[in-house]
């Protein structure tokens, strides 16, 4: 008790609401907590959580991790050949999105995309031979995240593919991502027909050349600035990328025109980008990866540094838990489906693109892109509410990314595992939905939540290490 004897009493009430009513009626002040058993009712998790609340060592580590994330400055530096520039990428290795998985367990779109990559690389000329390469182990697969890379949907990246190269001006870390093919029948949704392969070859030759030269000429493009501007223009840089694509194009065009490359090549490249409203997505993802890698590996930190799905499992990584993945079954997303499709056709949640939410963008910045809530029959007010709902589960705000609809407030960023478990508020993700069969493509979009199990696992891991 403090020294204000016989002054009023301020109480936080957990449990029976009538107790709070009594206090408020008799001259005190009570705030009633909208309480539910934490962690889905698991008593052991609840106890572990209690020991980590207001823990100085974790809070201090989070401060460091968050600071590193804030000061990261990802710069688009150029285009490179995946096999040449991605660290640890073997010449017979194919990268995929999400946490580790065996090739024979992958979902339809991912399998289709792997085969497509094998065909593109020329390691086989038909599916059966390709499958044999996988079976024998001559071709291996590995998570993009293990190689400083991120990829949307299937995220399939093979050695000959051109990749964006992003460098952190501050810390010098690097991040990579492939180039976005556009919509419809594309590799990342598992399509591997000759037309898909042909497009990939064009991207490898023409597009990569033009982009590589343009960026080289520019000396590097600041990605955060584009993202910050785009947030004012209706993008949230996960599911809404039209404005940011336009902004990127604006910067590239003058340099592209001065590359001295054949005018038709340049024209094709510009046309390609202009025709793809999601072209910027991959760049956004790589920038977010770069920012979060800067925050990773701070001992004792409970900050989430990756959220990713491989179409079978949903996994997260936490700064203070090293390279460990905390995984659970990926949910099937209930959203808005294109005509003639329904939830029965959907693949489970897929892709590394949740890295944008991990960095405080995408679903966390939904208030910047109210159009998204139409996927769940909501209103623009709902979009604002969802963004605000993320505030209690994050370490802080990223003032580099402000949102007009939040009174120009900064977006909530830095998911704290403890707070997710303690509040029951699961991080929100805006996502596209793929057909469960390879090659059909996107069949809808929706709003989903990161599964609680990942966070409770991470919490139990954090509680193992003595944190004083």
């Amino acid at each position: 008790m403090t020294d204000n004897a016989q002054q009023s009493l301020s109480v936080i009430n957990v449990g029976l609401a009538s107790f709070a009513d009594t206090i408020n009626e008799t001259g005190g002040t009570a705030v009633h907590v909208d309480w539910r058993p934490p962690a889905g009712g698991d008593v052991n998790v609840a106890r572990a959580l209690a020991g980590l609340v207001n823990n100085e060592r974790i809070d201090s580590a989070n401060r460091t991790a968050f600071e590193n994330y804030l000061t990261a400055q990802p710069i688009l530096k150029g285009i490179g050949r995946a096999g040449d520039v991605i660290p640890g990428m073997g010449e017979r290795m194919i990268l995929h999105s999400g946490p580790p998985i065996n090739w024979d367990n992958v979902c339809g779109p991912v399998y289709g995309a792997i085969i497509g990559a094998i065909l593109f690389e020329g390691w086989a000329d038909n599916e059966n031979t390709g499958k044999e390469l996988l079976r024998s182990g001559e071709v291996t697969i590995a998570p993009c995240h293990h190689h400083a890379t991120v990829g949307p949907m299937a995220g399939i990246t093979s050695p000959s593919m051109p990749v964006w190269m992003v460098s952190d001006a501050d810390g010098g870390n690097q991040a990579f991502t492939n180039l976005n093919e556009g919509l419809g029948k594309v590799l990342r949704f598992g399509a591997n027909s000759p037309e898909v392969i042909e497009r990939l070859r064009w991207m490898q030759d023409t597009l990569a050349n033009v982009l590589g030269a343009a960026i080289s000429s520019s000396g590097g493009i600041d990605i955060k600035t584009i993202m910050a501007q785009a947030l004012y223009m209706g993008d949230e840089v996960h599911n809404r990328n039209a404005a940011s694509t336009g902004l990127l194009l604006k910067q590239l065009v003058p340099h592209a025109l001065r590359t001295g490359l054949p005018a038709d090549d340049v024209a094709q490249a510009i046309e390609f980008i202009s025709g793809n409203d999601h072209f910027f997505l991959n760049v956004s993802m790589a920038a977010c990866k770069s920012m979060l890698d800067a925050a990773h590996n701070v001992p004792n930190s409970s900050m989430v540094t990756a959220m990713a799905r491989n179409g079978v499992e949903f996994g997260i990584r936490v700064s203070g838990c090293g390279d460990q993945w905390f995984t659970t079954l990926a949910p099937v997303v209930d959203g808005l489906y294109f005509p003639s499709y329904s939830i029965d056709d959907a693949a489970p949640d897929l892709g590394d693109s949740a890295i944008t939410e991990t960095a405080g963008l995408g679903g966390f910045a939904m208030a910047a892109a109210p159009a998204i809530v139409q996927f769940v029959g909501g209103t623009p007010a709902d979009a604002i509410r969802r963004s605000r709902e993320m505030q209690p589960i994050t370490i802080g705000r990223n003032t580099a990314f402000t949102i007009p609809a939040l009174d120009f407030g900064a977006t909530a960023a830095g998911i704290d595992v403890r707070k997710v478990v303690d509040t029951g508020i699961q991080p929100i993700i805006n996502t596209g939905i793929a057909h469960k069969d390879a090659g059909v493509g996107q069949i809808g979009a929706g709003i989903t939540r990161a599964p609680m199990a990942c966070f409770t696992q991470a919490l139990m891991k954090l509680s193992e290490t003595p944190t004083g």
Partner: protein, 518 residues
């Protein structure tokens, strides 16, 4: 007959709300049994016992499970619809007009909203209460744990953690406190004053605070410690901390300690701290030998009534302290008048209490006056009732005990169990006196005396009239208004005295007289 279940995944409502909903469902047309519960293991067992579900349901502890058993599918469907509507209606709605306001989801968020908070009041299910309390302590707040079913190991760990940052833990199983004049849990509205209380018993705290108020004095702070605090394992940690708080509190001049007799070592520690605290301390360790406690600055009290009187006298600065308390206000002629209509077979007392401490005090005093009494939780094991649902000889029951409250609300809130037992005892030709308490104040039933009066009226018929002796623990400032409550009881024909000790003494005298032969 049709039984339907419905699972609402990840929907949480507190136990009181759920009982109210269950109650409402049971009263719908065509419904035989109904229940809305959180699907914990324990609750599922209860449903299986009640024959509502036979197979294991795929529900998690975090899910809300509705089970309805009715005459036909139509009434069951209707009831299910009603159930869902009620559950939805219980949901907290954010302040209207504020898009961004939503209720805090945990203690930390609540603290950000109310940064001057001093205390967290925890009444969630016992399985989680310990963890919530730990969070509160780590956030720098005091804690009152109303919940029970927290392990004693957890209690010790919490109290040790609290000591590290000089925080107070009231509880677990602490039902009552008054801080800065605000009633917490089940508590009464009493006048402010200079008497402070630290109590291991909720109803004990209520009784002493109300009596102090009725004697014209007031309460500075009344702190609870929880029922197990003075066990050897817990060591009286909260009582000692409470003592120190009151010793340093400028507005407190007299301190009252209330508990059942502590473990010996613990009693020693507590009394040593009390004796040195610099203020007079009244000690009511129910049933303890007063001489054992006698030392400088310590004033042993034999009953809750005595404790209140001693405190008041000390507060007024009187040197001469009462040993002899006012009797219950009835003389021999009045007692004879009460006894004469009784048939010869009527010779026993049946104590039906809602407050555990009152029942305990009654057993102690009655043993002294008329010999040991039977109980579901007697003073010595040989007086345990073979069947707690059936009284034999002199019997005193704490109807708030776990044995009676399993799956039911506490008798201070819900009168039905006591009503049934009253009728049962009244019909028993051996019952001479039905002894009862009525506890008013916040948290209690809105009209407990009204309910009791209805039971008395129903029980009194023709020649089978036991004597009803009772008292009201409350003040006129309580929502129920103590005087009103007393009047209702008297109008129904009960003999109403001012506190438990008086009620028990009167009862003891009546039973003794009956035993001597009229």
């Amino acid at each position: 007959m049709q039984t339907e279940t419905k699972i609402l995944p990840n929907v949480y409502r507190d136990s009181v709300s759920l009982m109210q909903i269950s109650s409402k469902l049971c009263s719908l047309p065509g419904i035989i049994q109904a229940s809305a519960i959180m699907a914990t293991e324990a609750n599922i067992d209860l449903l299986v016992e009640a024959g509502l579900i036979e197979i294991t349901v795929p529900a998690q502890p975090n899910d809300l499970l509705i089970t309805i058993q009715g005459d036909n599918s139509k009434s069951v469907e209707a009831a299910l619809g009603e159930a869902e509507a009620s559950i939805e209606g219980e949901k907290l709605t954010p302040a209207s007009g504020e898009e961004d306001a939503f209720a805090p989801r945990n203690i930390e968020m609540a603290l950000d909203e109310l940064p001057d908070a001093q205390l967290v009041l925890i009444s969630c299910p016992g399985d989680y209460a310990g963890a919530e309390a730990e969070k509160a302590l780590r956030l720098g707040l005091d804690v009152m744990i109303f919940s029970d079913n927290v392990s004693i190991e957890d209690e010790v760990a919490l109290k040790k953690l609290a000591a590290d940052s000089d925080r107070l833990v009231m509880g677990p199983d602490c039902g009552t406190a008054i801080m800065n004049g605000i009633p917490l849990g089940f508590a009464n509205v009493v006048s402010p004053g200079d008497i402070g209380i630290v109590a291991a018993s909720g109803t004990g705290l209520q009784q002493v605070s109300c009596l102090v108020d009725s004697l014209g004095c007031g309460i500075s702070q009344a702190l609870g410690t929880g029922g197990r605090d003075l066990s050897a394992q817990v060591g009286g940690r909260s009582m000692i901390k409470g003592l120190n708080i009151l010793a340093n509190d400028e507005t407190t001049a007299v301190i009252v300690l209330i508990s059942k007799p502590p473990a010996q070592e613990v009693a020693e520690n507590v009394l040593t701290v009390a004796a040195a605290c610099g203020k007079p301390v009244v000690v009511n360790f129910l049933g303890a030998e007063p001489d054992v406690m006698r030392r400088e600055n310590i004033y042993p009290a034999e009953t809750l009534e005595h404790a209140a009187h001693l405190a008041v006298e000390l507060s007024k600065g009187n040197k001469a302290l009462l040993n002899d308390l006012s009797r219950y206000g009835l003389g021999e002629p009045e007692i004879n008048e009460l006894i004469s209509p009784l048939s010869d077979s009527r010779k026993f007392v049946r104590g039906l209490y809602s407050g555990g401490t009152f029942s305990y005090e009654a057993m102690l005093l009655l043993e002294y006056e008329i010999g040991p009494v039977n109980s579901a939780s007697p003073l010595s094991p040989e007086h345990k009732l073979k069947d707690i649902w059936s009284s034999t000889g002199n019997t005193v029951l704490d109807l708030g005990d776990d044995n009676f409250t399993r799956g039911r609300p506490h008798p201070m809130i819900d009168h039905r169990l006591r009503h049934d037992r009253i009728l049962q005892e009244a019909e028993d030709p051996e019952t001479a006196v039905i002894l009862f308490d009525v506890v008013a104040g916040y948290g209690s039933h809105p009209d407990p005396a009204g309910e009791m009066a209805a039971s008395i009226s129903a029980a009194v018929n023709g020649s089978y009239n036991p004597i009803f002796v009772g008292f009201v623990c409350g003040t006129d400032a309580d929502p129920q208004n103590r005087s009103d409550q007393e009047r209702k009881l008297r109008d129904a024909g009960a003999v109403v005295v001012s506190n438990n000790a008086q009620a028990v003494r009167l009862t003891g005298d009546i039973i003794a007289k009956l035993g001597d032969g009229k």
